[in-house]
Amino acid sequence: MRADILERLASGNVLIADGATGTMLQAAGLPTGTPGEAWVLERPEEIKRLHRAYVAAGSQLVLTTTFGGARARLKAAGLDVQVAEINRRAAELARQVAGDNLYVAGDVGPTGEMMVPLGPLTYEAAVELFAEQSRALAAGGADVIYVETMSDLNEARAAVEGARQGCDLPVFCTFSFDTHGCTSMGVSPPQAAQAMAALGVPAIGANCGHAPEKLLDILPQMHETAPDAYLIAKPNAGIPRMVKRQVVYDATPERMADLTVRYVELGARIVGTCCGSSPAYIIAIREAVLS
C-alpha cells in the first residue's frame, strides 16, 4: 500500500510521472478537435490502455485524462452536462491501473477562458470551476490535485483555492514557461514560485513549455524563491515541427533522460515529460534516474 504522497516525497526519492496523453490518444485514433476527455466515457479501455503503457514503462504517478476537464472547457465540446461524471470516471480509470501502490494525479489544466480584465472569467467563477472538477477527481480516487500548464497567476491561485474548496487532497501546481523564460502571460519562475509558496503549495514546477533545456535555468530560480517546495519537471519532448506532414518533437528519449538526470540534480522530485513523448521516454527517464 502506498504512503501518503507528501510522505513519499519527503523520503527524498524521485517520483516518476508519465508522458503525453493527447498526442498518444490521437495516435490511437482520437479525431482531431475531439478532446481526450470524450474517450473517458466513450472508450474507457483506450484510456486504461494508455495508463497501463505508462505504468509498464515505470510511471509511479499516473495523470488522469482531465486536462480539459473544467466545465468551461468541456462546454466547447458539448460535454459540460457530464463534468462530474467525466472527472470522477477518469480518476477511477487511472486508479484501476495504478492499484494500491502507485499514485493517481487528478489532472487540472487551464479553463481556456481569460480572466478579468482581459476576458470574462472572474476569480470567483474560476474558483467554482476548479472546485467542481477537483471534487469529482477526489471522488474518483485521486491522491493529489495536479494543476498544470498554468500561465496566468490569478488562474493558478484560483485553481489552488478551488481544489481546496472541492476536496481535502494536497494540490500541486506547475506552469508553462514558454515565452522568453516566462509564461505567455508574463509570469516569471520566481513570481510563480513565490505566489505558490505563499499559498503553501507543497510541490511546484514547470511543464510543457518550450525547449526542455530551459528548465535547467527555470528550476533553480523556483528553488531559490521557494526552497521548501518539491520541484516538478515535466517538459515537452522538445519543440514540435512538421516534417513531411508528420509532427516531430526534436528531443529523443535519450536526450530527455539525460536532461531529467540534471533536473534531479537541481532538486526535481517529480519528473516526467509532456507533449510529443510516449512510454519509450518514460522507460529511458526511469532507467537514467534510477541508475
Binding site: 498526442t23 482531431t32 481556456g112 502571460m185 508574463g186 512538421m242
Partner: protein, 215 residues
C-alpha cells in the same frame, strides 16, 4: 507645442494599457479641435509601436499587448465620429482576413495579430476560432482581402492551414491574395511546404510580414 504634449500623453496611455485614459485624451483632443487623424497617427499609434517592439523582445507579454490594443481601440472609436464628419479616413494599408483554423479553439495569438494589424492601419476581418475552409472562402469572396492569416496552435490542427489553402485554390481565389500562417508548431519551412506566402513568429512580426506582402 501643446499638441505635442497631448500626443505624448496619448502614446503613454497606450503603452501603459489604459483604455479610460485613452478615451479621456481622445475627448480632450476633440474639445481642443485637434485633427483626429493626427491624434491617432502621431498620438496613439506610436504607443502600439513601442508595445509591439517590447512584445517581440520579450519585455512585454500578452496582457500588456491586449490592454494596449484595447486602449488603441477605444481611442479610435472615440475619434471616429469626428473623422467621419471631416470625411477623413485612416490610410488603409490593405485588407486582411484572419482566423483560427477548424478544430482549433485557441484565440489569443490570432486576436493579437488582428489587434496589431488594425493598430497599424490594416482593415481586419476577424473570423474567430474553429473556422472551416469554406468559411474562409466565403469571407474572401465578401471582403476581397489582400492577405489571409491562418492561425493554429496545435500540431494536430495545423494541417487544416493547408486545407484552407487547397480550398482557396479550388475556388479559384488563391492567386488574388497572399496567405500567412502562424502558431506554435508553424515555421518558415512549414509555410513553404504548404504553399503559404509567409510565416510570422509573433504578432509584431506578422505586421512586418503583411506589410511586405502587400507592397
Amino acid at each position: 507645442m501643446a499638441n505635442e504634449r497631448l500626443f505624448e500623453e496619448m502614446t503613454d496611455a497606450v503603452v501603459a494599457g489604459l483604455p479610460d485614459k485613452a478615451r479621456e485624451l481622445a475627448n480632450e483632443a476633440l474639445r481642443a479641435g485637434v485633427d483626429p487623424l493626427e491624434a491617432i497617427e502621431q498620438g496613439f499609434k506610436p504607443g502600439m509601436d513601442v508595445v509591439g517592439e517590447g512584445f517581440a523582445k520579450g519585455d512585454l507579454f500578452i496582457p500588456d499587448l491586449m490592454m494596449s490594443g484595447e486602449a488603441m481601440k477605444v481611442a479610435i472609436a472615440t475619434l471616429e465620429p469626428e473623422m467621419m464628419k471631416r470625411k477623413q479616413q485612416r490610410k488603409t494599408l490593405g485588407k486582411v482576413v484572419v482566423g483560427t483554423v477548424q478544430g482549433d479553439i485557441h484565440e489569443i495569438g490570432k486576436t493579437l495579430v488582428a489587434t496589431m494589424l488594425a493598430a497599424n492601419g490594416f482593415e481586419v476581418r476577424d473570423l474567430g476560432v474553429d473556422v472551416s475552409p469554406q468559411q474562409f472562402v466565403d469571407a474572401v469572396r465578401e471582403v476581397a482581402p489582400d492577405v489571409v492569416g491562418l492561425s493554429a496552435l496545435l500540431t494536430t490542427t495545423m494541417l487544416n492551414q493547408e486545407a484552407v489553402i487547397l480550398t482557396l485554390k479550388e475556388a479559384g481565389l488563391r492567386e488574388q491574395l497572399k496567405v500567412i500562417v502562424g502558431g506554435v508548431p508553424a515555421s518558415p519551412e512549414w509555410a513553404e511546404e504548404i504553399g503559404a506566402d509567409g510565416y510570422a513568429e509573433n504578432a509584431t512580426e506578422a505586421v512586418e510580414v503583411v506589410k511586405r506582402l502587400v507592397q
